[in-house]
Symmetry: C2
Subunit: 322 residues, 2 copies
């Protein structure tokens, strides 16, 4: 910076002004400084820049490197953050890198706020984090003091799935749940409510959130087939594993069995899978998250939980029962 200032024949402060696009420099000087800067290959040091400010405009995000849905969400968050003038720093959660570790590394970078995708931390751990900075949990309906929640209305999502199947003429519908995964409870109870409201008996089979869980569920299913004509699963990943295993049996999809996923991940849309699913509105989740964070940071206590309405994406794994 010093060098740029010298080359342009101005003070360091003016270089700062020019690079911040702040008022207080004539067009001629501005051009001269920028020319000097690019000649020397100068780029302002982002960290030093933040050091002096109270506001860093840096948001920390934890995500699961293995969850395709998290990938979609991260992408949406980048756009939403940029639009609001925030910067994102990512920290991955993986089998060998637990969530507390991922969070700690974000804290070291003095993020202004923490955005946690489907956090598995206990409510008390989340509250403790929320004491030092705003914390937003996406996709998990957690009640923890000081923690804001932005999520999809999973109960409504399950209802959409059930109603879609009802409208096709199904009456015996099974739900294979997500176990303890964030959101699983809501999707399960949403299914139960929708079934009861239609005067039908709900049936829930334990499942999980990975392809392997879905495949296992399919084996259990095939082993002693319950008298159902349709299945709703916790998410697309599980649905994928389920479908793959079912295809190896004599059952035809959707003729013998209709299947509905959840999340509308990129994979569900693939022509060969063509999975009927419930779409979470990632763009809305992302912008609402940033809005919430911004409100917290600027002193206005935000009203959460923010609940986004999902939509049904009918594709080819659902049809009227035989």
């Amino acid at each position: 910076m010093e060098d740029v200032a010298r080359l342009a024949g101005v003070s360091r402060a003016l270089v700062s002004i020019v690079y911040r696009d702040a008022p207080g420099a004539s067009d001629a000087t501005r051009a001269r400084v920028l020319a000097a800067g690019s000649e020397l290959g100068y780029r302002p040091d982002h960290r030093a820049r933040l050091l002096g400010r109270t506001r860093t405009r840096l948001l920390g995000v934890t995500f699961d490197v293995r969850a395709p849905f998290h990938g979609d969400l991260v992408e949406a968050l980048y756009s939403a953050a940029e639009a609001a003038g925030y910067d994102l720093t990512l920290s991955a959660v993986a089998p060998s890198r637990a969530e507390p570790r991922a969070v700690q590394s974000l804290l070291d970078y003095r993020c202004e706020a923490l955005i946690l995708l489907g956090p598995q931390l206990s409510p008390s751990a989340l509250s403790a984090l929320a004491e030092s900075q705003p914390v937003v949990a996406i996709g998990r309906n957690v009640r923890a003091a000081g923690v804001d929640v932005v999520r999809t209305d999973d109960s409504a999502g399950s209802r959409l799935a059930v109603e879609h199947l009802l409208s096709l003429g199904h009456t015996r519908i099974l739900h294979i749940d997500g176990g303890k995964t964030p959101g699983a409870t809501e999707r399960r109870t949403g299914y139960r409510k929708a079934m009861r409201q239609a005067g039908l008996e709900p049936h829930v089979q334990p499942g999980g959130r990975t392809e392997a869980d879905g495949a296992d569920a399919a084996k259990t299913f095939l082993n002693d087939p319950p008298p159902v004509t349709a299945v709703t699963l916790f998410n697309d990943r599980a649905a994928m594993g389920f479908l793959d295993t079912i295809r190896l049996s004599h059952l035809e999809i959707p003729t013998d069995l209709s299947v509905v996923g959840y999340d509308n991940t990129a994979i569900a849309a693939l022509s060969h899978l063509n999975l009927t699913t419930i779409a979470q509105d990632t763009a809305a989740l992302a912008t609402q998250t940033i809005t919430t964070v911004h409100a917290r940071l600027t002193g206005t206590p935000p009203t959460t939980p923010v609940v986004i309405t999902p939509t049904l994406v009918p594709r080819c794994t659902t049809a009227p029962p035989r």
Copy 2:
């Protein structure tokens, strides 16, 4: 920091010493400072800490948020970096966030080096980046001045796949390639060489790197089935799309057709897919990458490309031809 120093009755410098685990403080004082620190919830500001140092020990990583293999690699990189005393900062590449953008944001954070997973940038763009800091490309065999390469021996990987199929008795083997994806050329030519060496005629069908590409390839394949008994695909994702579509046809896997993937992603191992595949050694790729970066940063010019040998993971999608 000031507050901690005051509470512990010492100078700021001593607090620094204690938190850096540097010599020069008595055990008693050390304990007192740490107690004061935790009472006040003090955590050193990572950014400010790096500011004064020439070495930041911060490595920037770009990865594709949609590629499961990148997820595996990121995880391995975290461990390798930590073991060598480096810190990682991630920057995602996504449809709405192109690679140059991801790289720029890393540069703003003054990373000591850039680690690019399967970069799509041109050699000249890569060289330009390498002028200001070390650049390592993982998984793409690119020749660009100053750019180090750490990759799997993809040619050997393809050979492994072909030899595995030969040993089962296959002679008519098709390769569905990865188009312009990094690594595709090596896998394609490796296949061709192995076939010719066995006195067989290579057959290559254009493909791609996503599930959709694999599914499309399967449609083309089924439309006018070539007289082959086995198929090797560019990667597991394409293999997955391919398999899903093939399963809808009359063809049985592996009885009528053997299929080999590439990458050994978590999905390939799932019981329902059970895909025979070529495993890239992510741990080795990661540690070699960190070693290379470290060598560059400490002045020793590293010898690259570093080429890691892949291994065959036989599972249930390959069998002797009918």
